[in-house]
């Protein structure tokens, strides 16, 4: 069957035999966007986190059929080296990644959190950022999340000034 959705701003139409195929594999192997990672296949680690209509979703356990007509964002669409998302900018400033494999999932989860809570408390972070990082980069990640919140507010202020 044919499923249509917008991913990183581009309308995509994919032909898929089994509409229950996890979105993760469509993103990785059909659309060849490898930034979204496979970790566990059971929505338990968060490495596959991406955004569906601005909500953080663990795509290994999200059937592609539910993506019909939705807006999907992956790490590749979050920002670019020329125009990094505040979360990516903060991750660079704090030098968060070690092996780096789980980091796209964490950055996507963080971006979704900041959409809802632009200035999250430590408790908000503890309750919402529940992915697994085996290198255990959590210490820097917490700093980076607070920094991303600051950067977002700075960006918003600048935008308001320009308006």
């Amino acid at each position: 069957m044919k499923i249509e959705f917008t991913i990183n701003g581009v309308l995509q139409s994919v032909e898929i035999e089994d509409s229950n195929t996890p979105l993760l594999w469509v993103v990785r192997d059909v659309l060849n966007l490898k930034g979204t990672k496979f970790g566990c296949g059971k929505a338990a680690c968060g490495a596959c986190t991406l955004h569906v209509d601005d909500e953080a979703v663990r795509s290994c356990s999200y059937a592609v059929k539910f993506a019909e007509g939705k807006q999907i964002t992956t790490i590749e669409g979050l920002g670019s080296p020329q125009d990094p998302h505040p979360v990516q900018q903060a991750w660079i400033e704090e030098v968060v990644p070690q092996c780096g494999y789980c980091q796209p999932g964490f950055m996507m989860a963080t971006a979704a959190l900041l959409n809802k809570k632009p200035n999250p408390s430590d408790e908000d972070i503890d309750n919402n950022i529940v992915n697994v990082c085996r290198c255990a980069t959590y210490y820097r990640m917490r700093k980076a999340i607070h920094r991303a919140a600051e950067l977002t507010q700075e960006t918003n202020l600048k935008t308001q000034e320009n308006v």
Partner: protein, 717 residues
């Protein structure tokens, strides 16, 4: 194959290594000149951890037309940051900027790979001298040719940012290299003084930072090949199960299935997509031979002090008299630990008329090449293992023999095949951190100091049986040197001290896990020392300092203990519902000590603060050494406070994150301060040693806060 593309014709290659330095210019070998004695000597005297072999084509460096240096690293990058340290060394000695350097993992066909492994926290230390000397030699080679091209004296030339100049004329490295077919190899130049380095010793940002923040496809599982198919392999769940037969009739009819493959004693499905391969796999019924259903209790009974093979690994003074009234004794245990690295194992393999290419995340490209060649019956030089960035290593990828199966599948279907472990396979087919059992015995002297201390410990395999050290340890040394890490007593002024190892091979695979025996051994020894300090009525830091020499290498341990206590304001009396815990260890010649501050919240241990003192010699990248300490501390907390595999119904369980309880964001301390002491002028191991003290430090804090001595990992109130 993105990496293969880099070896294009329009690039200049400097070839080095044991036995030869040759030059490849514009795609053509011109000569293979015997290496100058100085470089040969340098390679011969490399530390034992570095085992580059001279028989393969030895590509170290490429210089591109864009005046960039590509370094083919014999060591892989698994998060430890060594690629960045290598770039720092090259930049400083070759006089290029960091952004002019790219580091890639060397492939076995074209580069030098460490024939042993990337592991043991040895990457930066082992290449510290040779890599700087190679970079300096290349700089001089380029200057010699530049002098000819510019018609000036070599001595008039200076180098900066990849440009050679005599003040009037300039030429880039790439311009120098263009068209050169014969190179003069000078004697190895003097290295620059440490004080003059612009990058070495500075907290430069990781060179792979952007790739990892913007989601570049750099990991093993991200690799692609044209017409690639996907595979799922069936692995047993029960310990010790062997293949009997399989009913695959349904699987062959499933959508997308290309072939159901049965080779010897295993079955796999190859399909057009991974989801299809998994769906077909679920329809296959395998009959397993299960001789015995193992239980946790039986395993624990096998693994205890007094069972297995005894090796005395340390013996000073007399053994404690068992009848002595003053004898204090405690038992400690640690559980089976999983690696749980987030990128599952897997491989992408292409078998093409006996030419084999495998891309994967591995700590052992060299061994994987050997084993694939043996299994497929081809010459080693037909096998190209291309190591990708690892989505975590932690010792798990010191055995990547699933590469063999992936190649066999590719051969069976005539196309490239990518295989990925499911998470359940990953948890049940891990090469686990072995469980341990410890009996600590001690006695105080009349002066209140420790008079006798003994560590008797039982462990499953760590180094024994491992593919990177075949036979040797078992047959020659007898001791499991991996299980031994942290097992000996470092307090040399305790008059009588000894360590005895009981080794048992368990019915499931156990092997390398970040820091090996250090985590459990230090937990037992340092918890017990804290207990003896309580019994003696002494401050545990002062007791430790009183029992360790201030001379030689012992002084380095003394110094980190003192510094951690000072920076952490260690106080052995709980205050305001919080208590401090102290512990220290030395591992691979890098001593570490931690002060932690804990409270109990909702009947859970909460770690607020960790202050770490660490002596890993000369620090090449302070930011990344700090990152390794932070990571080792929290990963060590995770292993000490949460993680545990058990045997249920003959299976290792759990098989998923969550039930396999690990430290998350909410468990991470809000403060982790790392203080360095430079007790040696060379870089010493970093990645594992800071993991040692954390379990004991937390347990010691809990003891002082609650009066309860926790003796089993994971620590539960």
């Amino acid at each position: 194959m993105s990496k293969a593309k880099k070896l294009s014709r329009r690039k200049f290659l400097v070839r080095g290594g044991l036995g030869t330095v040759g030059v490849l210019a514009l795609g053509t070998y011109v000569f293979r000149n015997p290496i100058r004695r100085s470089i040969l000597k340098m390679v011969e005297t490399l530390p034992p951890s570095y085992m580059g072999s001279g028989t393969e084509a030895n590509l170290w460096f490429e210089l591109t037309q864009e005046n960039k240096v590509i370094f083919h690293s014999p060591k892989v990058e698994m998060g430890q940051g060594s690629f960045t340290s290598f770039a720092q060394m090259i930049a400083d000695e070759m006089d290029v900027r960091l952004d002019q350097i790219e580091v890639v993992g060397a492939a076995t066909k074209t580069g030098i790979v460490d024939v042993l492994s990337t592991g043991g926290s040895l990457s930066v230390g082992s290449l510290w001298q040779p890599l700087r000397e190679l970079a300096a030699t290349m700089r001089e080679m380029l200057k010699i040719e530049a002098a000819k091209k510019l018609s000036v004296e070599v001595s008039s030339l200076t180098t900066n940012d990849g440009v050679i100049s005599n003040g009037l004329k300039t030429i880039t490295y790439a311009e120098v290299a263009y068209g050169i077919t014969e190179w003069n190899i000078p004697d190895t130049p003097e290295l620059k003084p440490l004080s003059s380095y612009k990058f070495i010793g500075k907290p430069v940002k990781r060179i792979d930072l952007a790739s990892k923040v913007f989601g570049d496809p750099i990991f093993g599982l991200d690799a692609e090949m044209p017409e690639m198919l996907h595979a799922a392999i069936i692995r047993p769940s029960k310990i010790g199960a062997t293949f009997n037969s399989a009913d695959t009739s349904k699987a062959a009819q499933m959508p997308g299935v290309v072939k159901v493959v049965q080779i010897d004693d295993w079955v796999a499905v190859v399909a057009e997509s991974y989801a299809q391969a998994l769906a077909a796999k679920r329809t296959i019924k395998v009959e397993w031979n299960i001789l015995k259903e193992w239980t946790e209790k039986e395993m624990r009974e096998m693994l205890r002090v007094g069972k297995g093979r005894l090796m005395i690994t340390q013996k000073e003074g007399d053994a404690i008299d068992e009848e002595d009234d003053e004898l204090v004794s405690m038992i400690f245990t640690s559980p089976i630990g999983a690696h749980a690295q987030i990128e599952p194992n897997g491989a992408l393999a292409d078998y093409n008329n006996g030419d084999i290419t495998v891309v994967l995340s591995t700590q052992v490209p060299g061994k994987t090449q050997e084993f694939v060649a043996d299994a497929l019956g081809v010459d080693k030089d037909k096998v190209n293992i291309i190591p990708a960035y690892l989505g975590g290593g932690f010792g798990r990828r010191l055995n990547t023999n699933h590469a063999i199966q992936t190649v066999q599948l590719s051969k069976a279907v005539g196309k490239p095949v990518k295989y990925i472990f499911t998470r359940k396979e990953e948890f049940q087919n891990d090469l686990f951190r072995p469980p341990t059992h410890h009996i600590m015995k001690g006695k105080l002297g009349s002066d209140g100091l420790i008079d006798s201390l003994e560590h008797h410990y039982a462990s499953g395999d760590v180094a024994i049986g491992a593919i990177i050290l075949p036979g040797l340890l078992n047959d020659v040394l007898g001791t499991d040197i991996g299980a031994m890490r942290g097992g000996n007593i470092m307090y040399d002024k305790i008059p009588n001290h000894r360590a005895e190892q009981w080794h048992t091979t368990l019915p499931f695979a156990t092997s390398w896990w970040r820091s090996l025996g250090l985590l459990a051994n230090t937990f037992a020894v340092e918890s017990f020392i804290d207990e003896l300090a309580l019994k003696a009525g002494k401050n545990p830091v002062e007791l430790r300092l009183a029992q360790i020499s201030k001379e030689g290498n012992q002084k380095r341990i003394y110094d980190v203990i003192q510094l951690a206590a000072e920076k952490g304001n260690y106080n052995d009396t709980p205050m305001n519902g919080r208590a401090m815990g102290f512990a220290a260890s030395t591992d691979s010649n890098s001593p570490a000590a931690h002060v932690v501050e804990v409270s109990i919240e909702n009947n859970q241990i909460k770690v607020h603060k960790v202050i770490c003192a660490f002596d890993c010699g000369f620090v090449v990248n302070p930011d990344q050494v700090r990152a390794q300490c932070e990571g080792a501390i929290i990963m060590g907390m995770s292993a000490s406070m949460f993680e545990k595999m058990t045997i249920e119904d003959g299976e290792l369980t759990p098989t998923i994150y969550g039930p396999y309880d690990m430290a998350l964001m909410k468990h991470a301390p809000k403060t982790i301060d790392v203080h360095f002491i430079q007790g040696a002028d060379i870089p010493l191991p970093v990645g594992e040693p800071p993991m040692g003290p954390i379990g004991a430090a937390v347990a010691n804090a809990v003891r002082r806060l609650t009066g309860k001595r926790l003796t089993d990992l994971p620590l539960k109130l």
